[in-house]
Symmetry: C2
Subunit: 131 residues, 2 copies
DNA sequence: CCGGATCCTCTGAGATACTG
DNA sequence: CAGTATCTCAGAGGATCCGG
């Protein structure tokens, strides 16, 4: 899911959804927020591979796309919470199906991904890694 | 849908599917192939925005991931056809749902995407573009 | 705890041109 | 018609530092 350009080709749903879901961590962010409200520091802990900056950028985009809301509590220390909007919630079933598909085909997926990414690894080594 | 690195975090379906679907034109390619067999030149015509090289690269990845097969007919002029594998076919319902969601929320999507991408454009101009 | 600003890296993907 | 080899580039995303 990628489709960047707001080009002539925004004429089908597949293109449109690509625009709002585009971003390395977007889907996972939505998934975590959907479980309730979420604070930036919690999100950071759940996705340690992403830097705070990137998470902020993507959260901002999600907000601009009206998929999440950002609530600021004027306290010290600062407190911020993200929630899904009604619109954002409509995406959850979709994300769930995607995740389920991935879970169902886990083994096959791992195998083909490994086979491709680790070209220097032999078949038996792949089996070993997977076991 | 993005997730690139074959990092430690390949532990959920959401990550795994990202690996095989990652690529600007992958989903659309799968969609077109799913309607039957497809020849490279046909695909090129259906996706004129992508160059032949990029399409080839992504087709190769899809093939490596066992989502499509590539059949070569030893004739002159050369003829090649792509088909979905059984595995690839299991993705179609998912892609269909994604597309449907996008279609259902078309107007809202167009609005938020435009609002964000064309920051120099005023609200009324956006309305105008959309009308 | 939160976010913004700066600088940098790296790789997907476009452009072009060439072979069987 | 099909496929490959180079070259190039934008821009997404990472690393860091700083200020509220």
């Amino acid at each position: 899911m990628y489709v960047k350009k707001i080009a002539p080709s925004l004429n089908c749903g597949l293109d449109l959804i690509g625009e709002v879901l585009y971003g390395k961590w977007k889907i996972r962010i939505l998934w975590f927020i959907h479980e309730g409200h979420l604070r930036p520091s919690e999100l950071q802990r759940k996705i340690p591979d992403a830097t705070r900056r990137v998470l902020n950028v993507q959260l901002k985009e999600l907000e601009d796309h009206e998929l999440v809301t950002r609530t600021i509590y004027p306290v010290m220390p600062p407190k911020v919470e993200y929630h899904l909007t009604g619109f954002g919630k409509t995406l959850i079933p979709l994300i769930r199906s995607i995740g389920l598909w991935g879970d169902e085909h886990q083994e096959r997926l791992r195998r083909v991904i490994l086979k491709q990414n680790a070209l220097s690894v032999t078949e038996s080594e792949v089996d070993e890694i997977l076991s």
